[in-house]
């Protein structure tokens, strides 16, 4: 039996790496006494996987995890016990027991992000919207990417236009950050990192983004069937 859980990763805990998250959950299962399945062999480890790892430094409102359970357990009790043992900035929002489902990591196709940054000089939001719209209407949007070639690496241009779902200018927040929302391709079947997206935007459009000020947050993750996108839970 599989438990699928959705959890947050907020504030300073965005600086915890994926590997550290795995260790954190391992200990949390111990503390919360969750009847999780262990692998066989000399060095048994608990069987769970976090779908679509988040880059270090990115916050999230919605991360997915599949857990192989050894025994049936009440979902509400699972959530309660886990949240008691987890830090306040990583909390389970919802969970469900699934009889049969493809691994969440193979389902995820898109991530919806909040992108925040400061600009070197004042910028009008309507003007920004207009520039971004024109940019997205281009036939190709090329991103520089390092690619392995033989022993070394070479720089190649990749068209990221098919990896961009949408892009909206939201607001300028109280701290003076420009806030954008964007749906970007994400997961095992193609991935556009939001930081690379912003770097490319700046390289093409000279908006004056202070790259050191960028703050990223994943707001949601989606699977896709035909032209419909939906949440894996």
């Amino acid at each position: 039996m599989i438990f699928r859980a959705v959890f947050t990763k907020k504030n300073y805990l965005r600086y915890i790496s994926h590997l550290d998250m795995v260790r954190l959950f391992h200990r949390t299962f111990n503390m919360a006494m969750i009847p999780i399945k262990y692998s066989e062999g000399f060095n048994p480890h608990p069987k769970f996987s976090i779908g679509n790892p988040l880059s270090l430094g990115v916050e999230s409102e919605e991360e997915y995890m599949d857990i192989e359970m050894n025994k049936e357990m009440d979902i509400d009790e699972f959530i309660e016990r886990m949240n008691k043992a987890l830090p306040e900035d990583i909390q389970i929002l919802r969970a469900a027991s699934l009889e049969k489902a493809p691994a969440v990591s193979s389902m995820i196709e898109w991530s919806f992000y909040e992108l925040k940054f400061m600009t070197e000089s004042e910028i009008d939001l309507n003007e920004l919207s207009r520039i971004l719209q024109l940019w997205l209407e281009k036939d190709q949007i090329l991103m520089k990417k390092m690619k392995k070639k033989g022993k070394g690496k070479i720089e190649v241009d990749v068209d990221i236009k098919p990896l961009i779902g949408n892009l909206v200018v939201k607001e300028k927040d109280e701290d003076g950050f420009i806030v954008l929302n964007s749906l970007l391709k994400s997961g095992e079947h193609g991935n556009l990192k939001p930081i690379n997206f912003l770097e490319t935007m700046e390289r093409d459009l000279f908006i004056g983004i202070d790259l050191e000020s960028i703050m990223l947050k994943r707001l949601g993750q989606y699977a896709q069937e035909n032209s419909q996108i939906y949440k894996p839970l």
Binding site: Y15, I16, D20, R23, H26, R27, N30, N43, P87
Partner: protein, 614 residues
Amino acid sequence: MINKIKLDKILKKVEKPARYIGMEKNSIKKNLSEVSVKFAFSFPDVYEVGMSHLGMHILYNLINNEENYVCERVFSPWIDMEEEMRKEGLPLFTLENKEEVRNFDLIGFTLQYEMSYTNILNILDLSNIPFYSKDRDDSYPLIIAGGPCAYNPEPIADFIDLFVIGEGEEVTLELLKLYEENKKENWDKNLFLRKAANIEGIYIPAFYDVLYNEDKTIKEMFPIVEGAPSVINKRIVKNLDEMYTPDKMIVPFIDTVHDRITMELFRGCTHGCRFCQAGMVYRPIREKSPDRLMEIAENLLDSTGYETISLSSLSSCDYTSLELLTKQLIEKYEDRKVGVSLPSLRLDSFSIDVLKEIERVRKSGLTFAPEAGSQRLRDVINKGVSEDDLVKAISYAFKEGWSRIKLYFMIGLPTETDEDVMGIKHLSYLVKDLFFNRPPQERKGNFKLTASASCFVPKPFTPLQWYGQDTIEEFMRKIYLVKNSIKDNKVSFNYHDADLSYLEAIFARGDRRLSKLLVKAWEKGCKYDGWSDLFKFDTWMAAIEETDIDPYFYANRTRKEDEIFPWDFINPGVNKSYLLKEYRRAIEGERTPDCRKGCRACGIQNCEMWGVFN
């Protein structure tokens, strides 16, 4: 609180940002405006090292357990973080509330090794706090220090307002209580220090003066403030079962040096190895009961989710109920997949039986510390291990399936000859032969032997405190003697840096005149000296020259028997006359048996060994 936007900007650039965020399971964040005493616990090394230290977890919980007190943590930022902080003008902050260290009432440094002293200066500098206690007015936090290196506090005496000598579980709260009372009235640092000087185990360096002889040795050290005691007695916790022991510990997000539960089995040691400071200053021996340990284990396992418990002490096999305890732990927690690890093992078949019990799954390597290569030299240092013991124990280990062995040695021990040094090769080859002389069908695993040699550093309050350290050249000559003689791909020989041990020796037995050297070295960019890739020996040598310090005087000089040492004013329980007797026996190569086989009158009062074994 520090500027969080700047912090975020920095955290995105540095390696392992989780070192600086706090928020771990069981960390405690209180409202700083609602407490009466704010204590910043500072470990002068990087997070992963500091978080592996049991003492930090004890004091952190001990202080936070008091409603009106808060303890927050601060570590040395790594080089990249420091650079960014200086660039942004961000002061050093505590992990919990991200509050400037400067705004705390007390900053407590733990002194685990001498080579962390430049990091103490760096922490003060990053906190905008002057180095010298005389330069700090009443508006600055009180700078205090404790831990093993406080047994010779003198090299950093000019920087620290107050030292705690001995075990901190009881005296820390006494001190904070006194602080709280004094802070309520008009805060007067000097008045507070005068009162604190009356607490047993507290040393206020500014209350003493030192006169020197023409040969630079100490003529006299004496109190210059009325009421300051002329001898500082170390603090000892009498009953470890009743002592405050935390039922939880902070669980770091990132991998640390010891990422597991540590449980202390007992304090003190009865073996009397003559090079070992811990073996002398942590006397008398005091055990925790297995019942109490089972209780602590349950609390810690439940509150941390850890799966490994490390049983710590100076010599684990001496614990009276070791077999009972390990059996109970393994049986009780088998289904929770809890593993037990047992460092500091003695060489005997009993130890191996215990190991067999706890390491059911995978046979990791075995580590033994004969310390010296020849029997004669092991007698000199009173390491009660014979070649016969080693042969028996290791043959047994091979029979039980272990195949990787590590042997630890020291080079530069008193009376050492080249023949003794070559004993390292002799023992290593002997172990190899033990493996390959077994019938091929009984050999299990891939044999690998690693012999490691460190350079001996004479330490205060040991019988070898009079002895002059070998020069770097002599160390290297001896090291190469062994290294060049070992030609076998199954046996490898590692050695530690002689340069670093040389500086360690200067500070281990140093005095107040070294403070200017520390400041000079720091000014020239020395920090993280314990990290071999960051250690700048040439810079240190330049600093030594510029401050006119005679390194030979501190490191290499063999002291006269009646010399007054900088640390003589501290009473660790063991008498100087006993240490001298042991020093003479060392030079004669005379063994002194374990205290358990009869009291040697070392000077410790109320020692359990009297009643039990006499």
